[in-house]
Subunit: 238 residues, 2 copies
């Protein structure tokens, strides 16, 4: 069986190999190679992921056994839903789609979503609801890798796109501090509770699954809006 | 179809008929007719209900569609789980079981729970997870009736039992303000969204179901600890 440190190394190796920072769509996005319409398609589809995060977190919270654990996870709900005064992540994501000129009612209606986005996001919410608490927490560990991608994304998009401003990217700023705090808790939990070879394999599989579903969303964007560029019937057309 | 006001009247009528304020076990509890052991049995069993409330609320929160609704429901999680500084309802309930001389590890282990308590509480959590959002919210409406029972309980128990102090009853004080706030929101939601005869019937049935499961818990306590006084194998014995 792996030591906790070896388990952490194995988790980080999954990120090295599979995190969507390496996806060609992200390289195009960060490198300034997309049209405004393609960036709109990204923001529109990613909205569904953002809007589903609180459902994912609340369904995990519902299965956590102690007030202490639930309070830790409740913080994520506050980060994403806000407190009624300070906007949360969902609201900040809508500032991005607003800034890109997308109609807010159209975005939140999900009418233009790629079906593959819906399938991947729904698979995530369902996984967190149905897998073990340990696996559900492990699936959040992509946050270990997100500060790098966010830094690249914000710098690259501000540099390359004249339709992008710091205000429209306000979603990402708090995530640079929230994600490491969340990831530190989740990593510690996973290292302490994955105490059999079977649980360690389950934890690694959960993180692979999460990386896969983030990756699959970009595959669908690439196919629909880059190459060959064939959005399915009913999906957003720039 | 009922007007919203007629629906509210019908909901209140269910409380008049079915709320457990009328249960003989509660009359004994409030009237000072129970032994310390019987009060311990009540507090021990009711702990499982209290400890399950955040699971119930989080699973509903996971199905609420907007940040606004989720923030409203998130307040309930804070009330029950605390914020890490101020104790929540679960912790305050343990102050009651402590004050009654029950071992905290025994209480939280659930080892002495009446099976009927478990069945009733689990049925509630499952109902909120699986019924419509409207029915799940309606099932919380017993809070419309709780200030009266709490006032009677606190006054009666302080008056009649020398082993009860204001500190051990600290659970109830915040509930006198929290419950009406929660109930006002839920009642308004139900009156606005139960807009067909079928939905109105479903809402009324949900509140009846909730009253029934509170009542059933007291039936079990009465049978096991009052008359005939036959706790099942494995259950707490005073």
């Amino acid at each position: 069986m792996r030591s906790p440190e070896e388990l952490e190394a194995a988790l980080r190796a999954i990120g090295e190999e599979r995190y969507h920072i390496h996806h060609p769509f992200h390289r195009l996005l960060h490198g300034g190679k997309l049209t405004k319409g393609q960036v709109q398609a990204w923001a529109l589809n990613r909205y569904y992921y953002q809007a589903s995060i609180p459902a994912k977190d609340a369904s995990l919270l519902a299965r956590l056994p102690t007030p202490e654990l639930r309070r830790e996870w409740r913080r994520r709900l506050i980060d994403h839903d806000g407190d009624g005064v300070h906007p949360g992540g969902v609201e900040r994501w809508l500032a991005l789609t607003d800034g890109l000129g997308l109609d807010r009612a159209y975005v939140t209606s999900l009418a233009g979503l790629l079906p593959a986005t819906r399938f991947a996001v729904d698979a995530y919410v369902r996984f967190v609801r149905e897998a073990s608490v340990l696996e559900a927490i492990a699936s959040s560990l992509t946050e270990m890798f997100s500060p790098t991608i966010i830094s690249e994304r914000v710098a690259g998009m501000l540099k390359h796109y004249d339709f992008i401003t710091p205000e429209t990217l306000a979603y990402f700023t708090p995530r640079l501090t929230q994600a490491p705090q969340d990831a530190a808790f989740a990593l510690d939990y996973v290292k302490r509770h994955a105490d059999t070879p079977e649980k360690q394999e389950a934890v690694l599989a959960a993180l692979r699954f999460k990386c896969d579903l983030l990756w699959a969303q970009l595959d669908a964007l690439y196919f629909a809006y880059v190459e060959p560029g064939l959005p399915p019937p009913g999906a957003f057309r720039p």
